[in-house]
């Protein structure tokens, strides 16, 4: 049964928590790009939060508006909201975005990894994403997806996947169609097909954080959010997740994290209202 994913406390919302988790991930001092594709409000908030706290050298990119390092203190409704461009440092063309995507990123490149969030109709155990549709044979789809947009850029280098809904319909054993390559069929297939480019690193969901195993590149549970159990995760995942023996409980947000998020990034409280589900 689908229900709103609540963290079991009214101290913070799940969307706020996810923004904080992604911000923590952006803590390295390397010059990374925190990019937000369409409607990636949570990762946009996360990039800004990271920039303001631990990652001054992070470049925040708002994909829809095509701008770097905008300095909003209230969240736009999406990255294509013109307000996402507030006091930005530069504006690029969508052709530039495409160039960066087709060029891809190799180990050692200046821009080492994206903090981008990708989601989809379906994601499978190797992190492949489907935005095309469910069912078939094509074009006889049971569910017609909105289209692949730019999720193909998941193939351009190391990235992360971010899901607002954790359920068996979304997390499936094998995607019906592949809009974006995760680790493909696992093992080295991605490296061989995509010129050695590294694949997805983390998967953030409303109830847990996952990564991928080192060799087979299968999705593995890393930490479960407070309010949920390993069993909740297993039960709501449509494939066999790798479950290590030392699964952690995700460290909850601190008061200070929440305070900065609410006063300097999301003054209008959009993340409080954001609907995320489980089941």
């Amino acid at each position: 049964m689908t229900r709103i994913a609540t963290p079991g406390t009214d101290r913070y919302s799940t969307a706020e928590f996810m923004a904080i988790l992604i911000a923590r991930y952006c803590s390295g001092d390397r010059e990374l790009m925190g990019s937000g594709g369409a409607n990636q409000l949570v990762s946009l908030a996360a990039s800004r939060l990271a920039q303001l706290t631990v990652a001054p050298n992070l470049w925040l990119f708002s994909g829809g508006a095509g701008v770097y390092n905008s300095k909003f203190d209230t969240l736009p409704i999406s990255t294509w909201d013109p307000r996402a461009g507030y006091q930005a440092e530069s504006r690029i063309l969508i052709a530039d975005v495409v160039d960066n995507g087709t060029k891809g990123r190799k180990p050692g490149d200046r821009i080492a990894r994206g903090g981008s969030g990708y989601g989809g109709l379906q994601i499978d155990k190797y992190g492949n994403i489907n935005m095309i549709g469910i069912g078939g044979p094509y074009p006889d789809l049971k569910v017609r997806g909105p289209g692949s947009v730019g999720v193909v850029w998941l193939g351009s280098g190391p990235n992360n996947v971010y899901l607002e809904h954790h359920n068996k319909r979304t997390l499936v054993d094998k995607v019906d169609y592949r809009s974006a390559a995760g680790w493909m069929n696992g093992g080295n297939e991605r490296f061989e097909t995509l010129n050695g480019r590294d694949g997805p690193q983390l998967v953030w969901t409303p109830i847990c954080v996952c990564d991928f195993t080192e060799d087979e590149h299968r999705m593995r549970l890393v930490s479960v959010h407070p309010g949920f159990t390993v069993e909740d995760v297993i039960e709501n995942t449509g494939f066999e997740l790798v479950i290590p023996d030392n699964v952690m409980t995700t460290t909850p947000p601190t008061d200070r994290e929440l305070d900065i998020l609410r006063t300097r990034v999301d003054r209008d409280g959009l993340l409080k209202k954001r609907r995320m589900t489980v089941g």
Binding site: A65, W80, V97, T102, R144, P146, N195
Partner: protein, 318 residues
């Protein structure tokens, strides 16, 4: 050949012609004229991004003028700019990158057309649209890409994606076809009467789409003087020479955002979605597309000056 028979203008002094009235030709036409021009074409391309900067007034005018069976090359993400034409039966074929309403849900007319197979959907995506447009903009035969489609389903689903052998490495790579259009329609915040158009936001696909089109029609929130345009040439998104017609439609992007000008009308989008999802698309189209006798009446129906003022304020944060 041994006897010159043509006219040679260099033989006639400028003085003898300078008597004519020296006036620059305006490209401004009415919204209804523009609608008829669009409706007479077979393919159109759009700019904008999702629910921002869509040339909605022109789209409505084209529907009113009876546009049918067109092919659309949409922006990389589109909401009502693609869904409404589908609801109105204006499209036969769509190059798909993303049609949806994000946090407001999937696109109802698009989903219905897909399910009922009344729309030929070319399964494309961002690089396909952008690089295909770029190829057409330069009249180039195709756009080769590598390390991209090898790893996804598009080649199986999209027959317009072909393989080609890279003559430098001997490797097989993919080739995206050029995506020209008969007419490109665009929303600008400001334009002068000669076609010079400023987009204050935008995604930078405007120029390539203009070059890739046989005809370019700009709708502008405001008509400005050429002196205003000349104050900063770098702010001109499309040079007037590439533009055929200009239409003046204040709030013409409604119900989408107009960058740095006015906000998205989310209530109106919800109204649209509600009607279309409940099989009442015709009702929406009658009320907001067919019946209004001009753009001002459309604005009246969506709430008139109080609403447009509110939308302008929402973006300025006031």
């Amino acid at each position: 050949m041994a006897h010159l028979t043509k006219d040679y203008p260099h033989m006639t002094p400028l003085d003898e012609r300078a008597a004519r009235k020296l006036e620059r030709r305006s490209k401004i036409i009415s919204l209804e004229e523009a609608g008829k021009i669009i409706a007479s074409k077979r393919s159109l391309s759009l700019a904008g991004s999702h629910s921002a900067d869509a040339a909605m007034a022109l789209i409505r005018a084209a529907i009113r003028a009876g546009a049918r069976d067109m092919t659309m090359i949409p922006p990389v993400t589109a909401s009502i700019a693609a869904d409404l034409p589908i609801a109105a039966g204006m499209l036969k074929k769509l190059y798909l990158s993303y049609v949806g309403f994000e946090y407001l849900g999937l696109a109802p007319a698009f989903r219905k057309a897909a399910a009922e197979k009344t729309l030929d959907i070319v399964e494309a995506d961002e690089p396909f649209i952008i690089l295909g447009t770029q190829a057409a903009a330069g009249g180039r035969p195709f756009a080769p890409v590598q390390y991209l489609y090898e790893a996804v389903s598009l080649p199986e689903l999209n027959p317009e994606l072909k393989k080609v052998v890279d003559p430098f490495t001997g490797r097989e790579v993919y080739a995206i076809p050029p995506l020209p259009s008969d007419v490109f329609i665009m929303h600008a915040q400001a334009a002068d009467a000669y076609g010079n158009a400023q987009c204050w936001g935008g995604t930078g696909q405007e120029r390539d789409k203009a070059k890739a089109a046989d005809l370019v029609i700009v709708q502008a929130d405001e008509i400005v003087s050429d002196e205003f345009i000349s104050r900063d040439a770098s702010k001109t998104t499309i040079p007037g020479i590439w533009v055929d017609y200009v239409v003046h439609v204040p709030y013409g992007a409604h119900p989408t955002f107009s960058s740095n000008n006015y906000a998205l009308d989310e209530d109106h989008l919800k109204l649209y979605l509600d009607l279309v999802r409940n099989g009442r698309a015709d009702e929406y189209i009658q009320k907001y597309v067919i019946e209004p006798k001009d753009h001002l009446e459309y604005l009246d129906r969506i709430g008139g000056l109080p609403r447009t003022t509110q939308l302008r304020r929402m973006l300025s944060g006031a």
